[in-house]
Amino acid sequence: MTAVTTTTPARVRPARRAFPFGRAVAWTVMGLIVLVTLLPFYWILRTALSSNAGLGADPTDPLPVGLTLGGFERALGLQSAEEAIAQGGAGGGLDFWRYLLNSVLVSTLITGCQIFFSAMAAYAFARLRWRGRDAVFGLFLAGMMVPAIFTLLPNFVLVKQLHLVDTLLGIALPTMFMTPFAVFFLRQFFLNIPREVEEAALLDGAGKVRIFFRVVLPMASTPLVTLGVLTYITSWNDYFWPLMVSYSDSSRVLTVALAIFRAQTPATGVDWSGLMAATLIAALPMLVLFACFARRIVSSIGFTGIK
């Protein structure tokens, strides 16, 4: 990865005379960017571990003020209403364990189904021969042109008519079967698998279904995992659609719960400690997920992002 920097420094030196200064400036800028990127995360943690009284007394202390886990207790519904109000909370009783579970269920359902169904379709587009294939694929491509947001209102009407409002299934349904992008992305990958690999298996008498499961899917594990992680993050972070569909605890996901937490907290003295603790609870799983797959995601983002 660092191969570039080893190129003949001696010969190039004259042209580079002014460069170290430029490099210093460039590194400073890079350092600032990293700082602006990461400091808010530290501030979330610092605030979540502070008491609301402490935050009011000393807003600039870089360390937690009046170190306490009260914020987390309020977010997880472990405090009684009186206790919560005494510590500057709303006493509204939100149960983030439940929302965490809901988020996990919805994201897992969407990701698992969407990737699997999209992979099947992509295989049919890439490798199977059937009448109307190109026309249907063209239709899918055209579907990429419709901004997802345009379909939300009519989809809500549909989900309501299906009596699936306020259910986890209702939240998952619209993106559970496919996204045109996932199909397109996986088709591109399948097209690049050498035909010889499949043909060898065919000659061995394996059926195409078997080839799909035993040969093609394992070969595509890298793009499948990358796409899966990105899909998981996207569905985890989605707010607008769950906001429309979910009304009660039974289907409330973390993003919606966070917004409610914020709306409940008194306008005069916001429960910043509790709010940041809740924020951390909502964000942490994605940070952990990312930490596990960071290298893979980071190096493949160009290809998943364009088109």
Partner: protein
Amino acid sequence: MTIASSSPPSRLPTGAAAEVRSRTGPPPGGAGEDRGDGRLAALFIAPALLGFLVFLLWPTLRGVYLSFTRYNLLTPAQWVGLDNYVRMVNDPIFWNSLWVTVEYVVINIGVQTAAALAIAVLLQRLTRSAVLRGIVLTPYLMSNVVAGLVWLWLLDTQLGIGNEIIGAAGLDRVPFLADETWAIPTIALINVWRHVGYTALLLFAGLQAIPDDMYEAARVDGASEWRMFWRITMPLLRPVLAVVLIMTVIGSFQVFDTVAVTTAGGPANATNVLQYYIYGSAFGRFQFGYASAMSVALLAVLSAITVLQYRLTRAGRTDLG
């Protein structure tokens, strides 16, 4: 499950020949005993096609239909022709929303593209460290809701660290999200914070397609980094930049989450972006027909921008390879 797979024809080992045969005519329907994979394909495509038809194509058509109706979810939709559109054209709040949204997009995309380009070039020319790329991407892992709440706290007028610093510098505290002038730029910059890393990595991928020897050669000729950026990087990155711009502009126009959790459209409609107004019309006032008409208008704006950008930047070549 192996309906069609039991009788694969003795296909030629070279894929090309099979490809040619498949193009020479439609596979014979019905019999299923030879090259066509009709039934298997139907099975493989069924779930995705169902999802496509039911949750993408149908709602798109229905959205357009609803825009010509009066509909409150409870009673059947009632055809009213162009009424919703007439109302829209005469609705000052709609025009305000459109204007506010455009203001947001200009700031958001302007700053984000410049910053992403700078980060991408720094990553390309300074270090290609994967760790740094990972760090730059972290805000993207947060939801818009989380990003909105965090910055709401950081920029809080009373206790936020941002205003503490401003205060310590002897300046007046700025009510960033509660002030009509500041609210939209602030929201635009919050979303830059969340998305700039992702955009930078897209551009970085585009930069990697530029051969290193071009920079080497330019450097031997004594070209400065600044000059190389304008003479090599920009021209060669243009197609990628164009696609990224189209993508991010379309995304930017759909801003909703951040507004919903930080300002709720206020103060005094100053941040009542189009998508927020649409949501309020549908779920606050149950005017699904009117909300749909505004959605169609947004769709039209986005389509026009896409076509225009595509033309202007001649982004015909999108594949990196």
